[in-house]
């Protein structure tokens, strides 16, 4: 999503991407390390959450406390997350501290302390986060939905599996770090105020010596069940619905995005109008595009009290299916302007820009400019979206519910 793109590839293959922003005094950066949930060995679900914590518990010549204090004294706003393909670690900060921050992250990636006693603490916290999902049914239903929808292991839980976390050892986790922190497949992205030349020199010095690892392709298995219910004596039934669509690299990607926007872009979109405004079935209702490199879906969430759960699910599925019947000209204009405007609004934040650069490069092998995306959205029409929908009819819906009552999936 760049207006001006800086790009430099280190000799070992590590990609450095940058996008300067004139109006800001901050900078945001992120490393995407190929150790996401789907890239982990069988039986280690949750190791990603442990790793994201453990590598920050001391690195280089600093112990846990010294490293934490050093990061804090730079005023960093740290972000760390586990995705399907990647672990992302990074921060937003005042631009003047970037060099110091990168130096610390170099230590964290290349020389993490990985002490055994610290492993136990990191593992305990990761296990706690899995148990806490029971108290957050909305997040739980969407994690389970991805697990059921994507062919294994693409949808594997990014939070973890409690039994597998219990049997995870420090030794096994170290092995994963050694084999998955492969710099030849690592993407670094920065956006905001920075000096690209001096940044590249620093990155070369820190990371270029590390050589490429072996390539480990992921074997994609089969999908899990069509309907899953998890009983919970709560106030609402939390419903997740997901159906297949095209991946980000597909030529129909923008038709798919506009179709999702017609369904659930703004408050005038169909799901909000039919489910909430006309019928008062839900407070929270919405669908969004969810794309991985090798598979993608449209994921919908709705939360409603038990007596309304069946009607809510029926209306949601009917709205998916009704898309093929026709879309109005004004409706599509609203969907398109919504997509374009959200693109520009998000481009003002250095963090979301850095994130966008990295994921574009991973998913597409290139970074799209803001103008290119705008043009592609512009080019979609009622006809192109309808043709896409007719050629890609929604066949199967994966449904997950968490709550006191089951639904019938027809």
């Amino acid at each position: 999503m760049a207006e001006k793109l800086d790009i430099h590839i280190l000799k070992n293959g590590m990609v450095i991407l940058g996008e300067p922003m004139e109006a800001v005094a901050s900078v945001a950066f992120g490393f995407m390390l190929p150790a996401g949930a789907a890239a982990l060995p069988q039986g280690c679900c949750g190791a990603g959450s442990v790793i994201v914590d453990w590598i920050f518990r001391g690195a280089g010549n600093k112990n846990n406390r010294q490293l934490g204090d050093a990061l804090d004294s730079l005023g960093l706003h740290r972000a760390g997350s586990v995705g399907s393909s990647y672990i992302a670690i990074g921060a937003a900060l005042e631009a003047g501290n970037l060099t110091e921050a990168i130096k610390l992250y170099g230590d964290i990636i290349l020389e993490p302390g990985l002490a055994d006693d610290q492993f136990e603490l990191a593992r305990q916290l990761a296990a706690d986060a899995v148990l806490a999902l029971d108290d957050d049914p909305r997040q739980k239903v969407m994690l389970k939905l991805r697990e059921q929808f994507y062919p294994n292991p693409l949808g594997r839980s990014t939070v973890g599996n409690i039994d597998e976390l219990k049997s995870l050892t420090a030794g096994k986790t170290k092995e994963i770090i050694n084999s998955n922190f492969d710099l030849s497949k690592t993407i670094f992205a920065v956006a905001g105020k920075y000096d690209f030349d001096s940044l590249c020199r620093q990155m070369e010095k820190l990371f270029e010596a590390e050589q490429a690892g072996e390539s480990k392709p992921i074997t994609i298995g089969s999908k899990a069940g069509k309907y899953t219910h998890i009983g919970n004596d709560g106030a609402q039934v939390h419903i997740g619905v997901m159906t297949e669509t095209v991946t980000p690299a597909d030529e129909d990607y923008y038709n798919a995005r506009v179709a999702v926007s017609v369904l659930s872009g703004g408050m005038s979109a169909r799901l909000f109008t039919e489910v909430r405004e006309k019928r008062g079935l839900c407070y929270a209702i919405g669908a969004r595009y969810h794309g991985l490199k090798d598979a993608a879906g449209i994921a919908c969430y709705a939360g409603t009290t038990p007596d309304k759960a069946q009607e809510t699910l029926d209306v949601v599925i009917a709205e998916f299916n009704r898309l093929t019947d026709g879309i109005g000209e004004e409706e599509i204009q609203r969907a398109k302007i919504g997509l374009k405007s959200s693109l520009i609004l998000h481009s003002e934040s250095s963090s979301s820009r850095a994130g966008g650069l990295g994921s574009d490069y991973y998913l597409l092998g290139k970074v799209r400019s803001l103008d290119e995306i705008k043009k592609k959205i512009e080019e979609t029409t009622v006809e192109s979206v309808l043709e896409f929908l007719r050629n890609n009819k929604f066949k199967d819906f994966t449904v997950v519910t968490v709550g006191p009552k089951e639904v019938k999936v027809k």
Partner: protein, 409 residues
């Protein structure tokens, strides 16, 4: 680069703007000084319900037409209600700013139709049910009520299923008439926009609104310091919330209070973090300063396993005890300042972030403050400022409420 503008209409509506021609977007919104603390028990939940009803249309537009009109501009728009403010906000591309402002102005004089009211009541009840399933939210609401113990700031924002069920459209219309007076609201705008056009449209369309008294009770509150635990069979973790009194949104010591929040309870690197989270005794432990009109709170949230509860609470006691012993070091204060300063800078780089600070500074202080004013105020805080705040407010003496699975006896 930033230019502040202000105009006061004769009916008391204040229009403020901060123009930044370098921005790619603009943000505009209404800050209405009304919330659950301005409600009586009979109409508890009306402020929040009313916020929903403003989107249900005017004499000229239906709810669906309102949504369509916003979506035609691509605006990212929404609203929120808390104890003392109802804020309607939007981020938008500069070319649509005037249109979106016009829409907000229209919505500030809603139709409040019975049939819309009845359908939306279901949505509100669903929202109440949704938050019941989120114990991290539920525990804060309940602890707030226990802390304020009869003080209006303890009123629930959403209301209860019962209070919402009993509420009538007539009661809502009366509440609206009393609270959405032009002198009780601010129209604010930040980013790349044309100030003159904004003022013209506001003058044309808002001048006929009638000013009137919209009083608020501002009695002080020291907090009940009560302790309570609630069993909830379907939960798996213990959710603990602590409230203690703090300085108000108008108090110059609010920056010291924010820094104290970072020192004790920032999500990483704080005292709670090192004593509880780093040691894996609690999964999360945070404390924040919550400034309010004429009062304020420190609010902590901790989540842990049932087995760790008593250990965690002992450590919390030690953390606060330690604070009272003048233990904050230069280095600790500097770290807190750096974190607060970078958060401030990053937030204010977006017109939406800027709008929030602009609007609230006017609501609470009737003052325009640049980002630099806030940066300077934060930099000037000394260790003594923080220590004297601790001495006066004693955050270790708190109201405590926890929700968790049934305890084995």
């Amino acid at each position: 680069m930033m230019e502040f503008k202000k105009e006061l209409l004769s009916n008391g509506l204040c229009i403020i703007g901060e123009v930044n021609k370098a921005a790619k977007s603009a943000a505009v919104g209404f800050f209405v000084k009304t919330g659950s603390r301005d409600e009586t028990e009979q109409i508890n939940g009306v402020s929040h319900f009313l916020e929903h009803m403003l989107f249900k249309g005017t004499e000229k537009r239906s709810a669906i037409e309102v949504n369509e009109a916003f979506d035609r501009t691509g605006a990212d728009f929404n609203a929120f209600t808390n104890e003392e403010n109802t804020v309607f906000y939007s981020a938008v591309l500069p070319e649509y700013l005037v249109e979106v402002t016009g829409l907000w102005i229209e919505l500030m004089r809603p139709a409040l139709r019975d049939e819309d009211f009845n359908i939306e009541k279901n949505v509100i009840k669903e929202e109440i049910a949704m938050y019941k399933d989120l114990p991290s939210f539920d525990v804060m609401e309940r602890c707030k009520t226990l802390h304020f113990d009869g003080h209006p700031c303890g009123n629930s924002v959403l209301g209860t299923e019962q209070s919402v069920e009993n509420l009538t459209a007539e009661q809502m219309r009366a509440y609206f008439a009393g609270r959405y007076a032009p002198n009780n609201m601010v129209l604010a705008c930040a980013g790349n926009f044309d100030w003159q056009r904004l003022c013209d449209i506001a003058r044309q369309q808002c001048a006929k609104w009638q000013a009137q008294d919209a009083p608020r009770q501002l009695q002080p509150c020291q907090g009940s310091k009560k302790k309570k635990r609630i069993d909830k069979a379907n939960l798996s973790r213990e959710h603990i919330c602590l409230f203690s009194p703090a300085v108000s949104a108008q108090d110059p010591r609010r920056f010291a209070a924010s820094l104290l929040g970072f020192i004790v309870g920032d999500d990483v690197g704080s005292r709670f973090f090192w004593e509880l989270v780093d040691k894996a005794l609690a999964e999360t432990a945070t404390m924040q300063f919550g400034p309010m009109d004429g009062t304020g709170v420190f609010c902590s949230y901790i989540r842990c396993s049932s087995e760790n509860v008593s250990k965690v609470l002992d450590i919390v006691k030690d953390v606060f005890q330690n604070l009272s012993d003048n233990s904050i070091s230069d280095e600790e204060l500097t770290k807190a300042k750096n974190k607060l300063l970078s958060a401030l800078v990053i937030k204010n780089e977006l017109p939406m972030g800027r709008l929030v600070d602009l609007g609230f500074n006017w609501t609470y202080l009737q003052q325009y403050r640049t980002v630099t004013d806030d940066i300077d105020a934060i930099k000037a805080i000394t260790i003594n400022d923080v220590h004297s705040l601790i001495e006066q407010f004693r955050p270790g003496q708190f109201t405590q409420l926890s929700i968790g699975p049934a305890q084995s006896r």
